[in-house]
Symmetry: C2
Subunit: 335 residues, 2 copies
DNA sequence: CTGTTAGCGCCTTCAG
DNA sequence: CTGAAGGCGCTAACAG
């Protein structure tokens, strides 16, 4: 690092070594505990380090060691309340293994995703990828890079990449079962991004639901509360008695609109969310929903990557279970 | 990077150069557009790059260039709904300047903060620091490192570090004024972490409020909805007619508890939050609160750092204004 | 135990 | 316009 004006004069390992009257190798050994060093030298080195305020340059270490000490995480949307918990867990795991965490956001743009992953690969030991939309082909191409990578929040059959996700299908099935038992026969689903894996998984659940006498009509919506707010009016005209949101945001948006319209929930309609985002924590909210173990997802994904980094362990795709949270917005249909 | 087993054989710039029959320097020039290169060579290089799947090693680039192309952000708690928007904005700014974003979390632990900042300095061109608790002395010590750093969400008088924050004092003053005009005379403040700057700023506002006939009693609480939930019962015994939360989480926790207790809001008590976290977005919630421009905070902080990095620009501390959001939980006091 | 010697992969002068 | 040479800061053999 050339001394740029205004920056502190960089102090390097050789500054320390001359100050301490030892070789750079010894300094390195002391700092990394790589080998036994005479106690007196250790002292001198530590003094020099302290007085010069020396900190090893991470890039140089990375280059020499062949490891960056960093993992990368790519998420579609940092502002989505789904991810902070995940990132927090990933960060903790990474740190516990002495690694830093680089974070990137694709802004839901599949085109950008590819480049960002490539960029992460240039500067991270491993990559944690959450990519709901990326095509199988592109994923396979990235996997072919043989760069350590773990896919989370999505499972791609046949893809040779360690993956961990959530049993969205099972979660939505639980929702349908809950409604069926309450006596509902027809529901509307405010659908999320149609290209997303997570949405497809939810949709699959509606087929089994039909077997239990519950018919779910799918309505294009989106993934935000605004989308839910806007979309809900359209389904009230029909004969449904329950409204399922792609996620909690959508359901809450719908709820807000329904409240404005003076519609009683759950008396007139049941409303069910999906994900159980911080609402309980934030608002002791009473939305019936299914919860995803976000911190466990982050933790497991991080550990999976660490395993991959250390042992090259591969592993079977894992689905974390969701849990139905029956609260106040679901009840028997009217009449 | 030595070829670790199971990893892809690393392809380096010299692999490309031999494949293309040119020198490494030329490859570098082509890739970085550093100088004119004969069109035919450009083609050959690009072909070689593509066919070998070459990507420059970021650590090596960083070492050679003296820049990591990375900025670091340290926040106290990733799961706090305050930060995602900030990070999102920072990430966008960083990317727009061709930099990556490293994220670390101190877990509200002032001891850890110091080490983490140091670590960030070893691997980032600049650091964005949100440290509500760190002592002035420690901050000054870090500032003395002369490593580009911007403090956000806090202003420390006399500290020679570019800082950007939010006018918490003004925000809380607005809250008090609002309540005063509604006719409230006594309120309780569910206080946040007493060591935090942001809390101190809020407290200062209560002094001016007294001049307007509003007396605010301060109650230890915390920063979470659970804390608000637990603390609120204690203040209902007194003669206050309004309850102010350290932040929205606290206020919402309090609200939830009050709802359980069957207390009417705002008829019996007004409740006011602080921060205006995603609630409107998440729940079309109706908490009266004051909003902080989180994305602007992130954006400005990012730009400030970029300025610092590029021109060494210093700047006066900036306070972003808050805006009072009068919604449904505040009204005139009973009687 | 310690110092010396080579790189790690890339960029950037400096000649040509 | 291009190649050769040196160095960024650190670590990892390799000899003593």
């Amino acid at each position: 690092m050339p001394n740029r004006p205004g920056r502190p004069p960089r102090v390097t390992i050789s500054d320390v070594s001359t100050a301490a009257g030892v070789s750079a190798a010894t300094v390195s050994r002391v700092l990394n505990g790589t080998a036994r060093v005479d106690a007196s030298l250790v002292d001198r080195v530590q003094e020099a380090v302290a007085s010069l305020g020396y900190r090893p340059n991470a890039a140089a270490q990375g280059l020499a060691r062949g490891e960056w000490g960093t993992i990368g995480v790519l998420v579609p949307d940092l502002a989505n309340p789904y991810f902070p918990d995940v990132l927090k867990a990933v960060s903790a795991v990474a740190r516990s293994h002495g690694r830093r965490m680089m974070v990137m956001e694709s802004d839901e743009d599949p085109a950008a995703e590819h480049d960002l992953v490539e960029d992460l690969m240039r500067c991270c030991d491993g990559v944690l990828l959450c990519s709901p939309r990326m095509s199988r082909a592109e994923l396979a191409e990235l996997a072919g890079r043989k760069h350590p990578m773990v896919l989370f929040n999505r499972i791609v059959p046949g893809l040779a990449v360690p993956s961990i996700s959530v049993d969205f299908h099972g979660g939505m099935t639980a929702v349908c079962g809950h409604l069926a038992q309450l006596g509902h026969r027809r529901a509307a689903y405010l659908s999320g991004p149609s290209a997303s894996w997570a949405n497809a998984e939810r949709l699959r659940a509606f087929e089994s639901a039909r077997a239990f006498g519950v018919e779910v009509e799918v309505v294009e919506c989106g993934a935000t509360s605004e989308a839910g707010y806007d979309a809900v009016a359209g389904v009230l005209a029909g004969d449904v008695t329950a409204i399922l949101g792609y996620n909690d945001l959508v359901a809450l948006g719908a709820l807000a609109r329904m409240r404005e319209l003076g519609i009683a929930v759950p008396a007139a309609y049941s409303v069910v969310g999906f994900d159980d985002i911080s609402l309980e924590r934030v608002a002791h909210s009473n939305l019936t929903t299914v919860s995803v173990p976000r911190d466990e997802l982050g933790r497991r994904a991080g550990e999976l990557l660490e395993q991959l980094l250390v042992n090259g362990d591969d592993a079977e795709p894992t689905y974390l279970p969701m849990r139905l949270q029956v609260r106040d917005t679901s009840g028997p249909p009217p009449r």
